[in-house]
Amino acid sequence: MRQLSMRDAINEALHLEMERDARVIVLGEDVSGGAGGTSGQRDAAGGVFGVTKGLLPRFGEERVIDTPISESAIVGAANGAALAGLRPVAELMFADFLGVCFDQVFNQAAKFRYMFGGKTACPIVIRTATGAGMNMGAQHSQSMYAMVTGVPGLKVVVPSNAYDAKGLMLTAIRDDDPVIFFEHKALYPRKSVVPEGDYTIPFGEANIVRQGEHLTIVAIGRMVSFAEKALDALAKDGITADLIDPRTLSPLDDETIYESLEGTGRLMIIDESPPRCSVAADIAGLVASNAFHALRAPVVQLTPPHTPVPFARELERAYIPGPQAIEAAARQLLKAG
């Protein structure tokens, strides 16, 4: 079967949907690149991570729009274009840049439908690169998904592999609500089997990556592969787990977590963002409220500490929950009671 990197899988989804639906446009900084340059070459970037490569030559400047460094205008323009009938996919180069355009995300896109009495929709997708692990420093490495998951009106997607990324992106663009789509930088080159052509993955349906009996692990984004590594090691001691990848944080498929807990009674949540008011805390809280009786031990929230993302390799490595930390925490959790 054909393998694609997550980068190329998302690229393919964009191509497919722009082909299928003339209302889809893409806009952002350097989504093609080369405008105003001296080489005369357009598509000189295709996005700084190459995710939008080839769209400009195929769909032209009117639908693949390079913008100035003006994130509020980018997201705001996506909003306005959506209200006016298009289906914009805006690229926010790094999720950390939500800070300079957050109003258009949480006060505008998220609230139009409600404030306007259900009489309109704002079908935008904001694609953005997320996560630590590349030593990009405190302002280019954050996992910002809790901030948008908490906002009613938004949908939040965090794919953990190329296959899901393609299917979720097609769903996202076709979805009539505003979607924030987090693409982990470290996953861009990671390959998996990706079918050609059209397929969608519904929002709000978790992926049960593995099934097991001793504990339930919920892992987000890049943490899924780390959990798999840890489970490989634990398997040698006969320890198995349900590994649940929520795929979308809003809507969240909490039911699948509760069901798993009925069997295992033990929960570990692995989240790459700092602990307070995080998605890990959110899920732990939901379980404390809705699946309390299934719990046989304290919930383990495995997250980085309450600090910004450090730069130095050694510090960043210590910051991110890795396979070893997951393995250790799982062993610990199995002893707790």
Binding site: I65, S72, A77, F116, G117, G153
Partner: protein, 322 residues
């Protein structure tokens, strides 16, 4: 310049409707029946109407916290608006939005906006859509002198220039942002000059004169519809009430509003002009006044006795599907 009778009648009716709507709201707010806080547009009618008379339902506008005038000028249903402001189930937004969030896509009205500077990027997006759809329509961003200091607005202006988007920026300079004078907060003393600095044509016009605004808008829409890019107009105007209802206006000279009502009233200006040119008669205008008064009275009466939204409405309309 000669104007059709129907055109003048409609323009006057629109301005009068805004004026009556707002003056009546000013009274009704004192009954305590209207929730929230409200920013009235009285005094600025010539701007909203001068701008919107250049537009069709397929053109777009993005409005502000002071949005009633824009809504009416763009054709939103007046009773629906009044119901909304009262927070009623049958309001234009089912009572969920309120005064600062009235919208009606079917009229090309992208929404009032309670965030200063929220609208202009949205308007530019709508203008981009017009370009992609190649439909010859345009999008207008309304903003005040105060909004001309918000970074999002400048980003929108530059983006429109870069993309040659059919966008028009209308900065209603009424001299104040809340309790602060534009002379203080707009460092350049002039908003049009900023727009020129961003590479688009810009002109100051008389916001108390419908014809002045209408002419300036004509140049801007022509340019936009021809695909030549955005323009800015800066109508100088005045507001007859406080920033919001309840504002004691300590920052304004005691007689300022009275003076402005006497000398800068765009409705009086209009009447004066059209009667002295003999385009319309006083009787024509009086008839409109009568008619509008009845309409507004009906809107208020309807709104006062209308049903509130049912609590079941609380959780609907968040998503199309979830």
């Amino acid at each position: 310049m000669v104007f059709e009778r129907d055109f003048l009648i409609r323009a006057y009716r629109q301005m009068r409707t805004i004026r009556d709507f707002e003056e009546r709201l000013h009274l009704e707010i004192q009954t305590g029946e209207i929730p929230g806080f409200t920013h009235l547009y009285s005094g600025q009618e010539a701007v909203a109407v001068g701008v919107c008379e250049r537009l069709t339902d397929q053109d777009w506008i993005a409005s502000t916290h002071r949005g009633h005038g824009h809504c009416i000028a763009k054709g939103c249903d007046v009773t629906g608006m009044m119901l909304e402001i009262y927070g009623r189930a049958d309001g234009l937004c089912k009572g969920k939005g309120g005064s600062m969030h009235i919208a009606d896509m079917s009229k090309g009205m992208l929404g009032a906006n309670a965030i200063v500077g929220g609208g202009p990027p949205i308007a530019v997006g709508a203008a981009i859509a017009c370009k992609v759809q190649k439909n010859g329509h345009v999008a207008v961003a309304f903003g005040g002198d105060g909004s001309a200091n918000q970074g999002t607005v400048f980003e929108a202006m530059n983006l429109a220039v870069v993309l040659k988007a059919p966008a028009i920026f209308v900065f209603e300079n009424n001299g104040y942002s809340e309790h602060t004078g534009a002379d203080y907060a707009v460092g350049s003393k002039d908003i049009a000059g900023r727009a020129r600095g961003f590479g688009m044509p810009a002109e100051v016009c008389d916001g108390g004169d419908f014809f002045s605004v209408y002419e300036a808008m004509g140049r801007a829409t022509l340019r936009a519809r021809r695909g030549e890019g955005p323009s800015t107009i800066e109508p100088r105007t005045t507001r007859f009430f406080g920033h919001f209802e309840g504002d004691p206006m300590l920052y304004r000279a005691k007689d300022e509003v009275a003076r402005h009502r006497a000398t800068l009233d765009c409705l009086q200006n209009f009447r004066q002009r059209v009667t002295s040119e003999a385009w319309l008669s006083d009787a024509d205008l009086d008839a409109i006044d009568q008619d509008v008064a009845t309409q507004i009275d009906t809107a208020v009466t309807t709104a006062r006795s209308a049903a509130p939204p049912s609590p079941a409405e609380l959780e609907t309309d968040v998503y199309v599907s979830y």
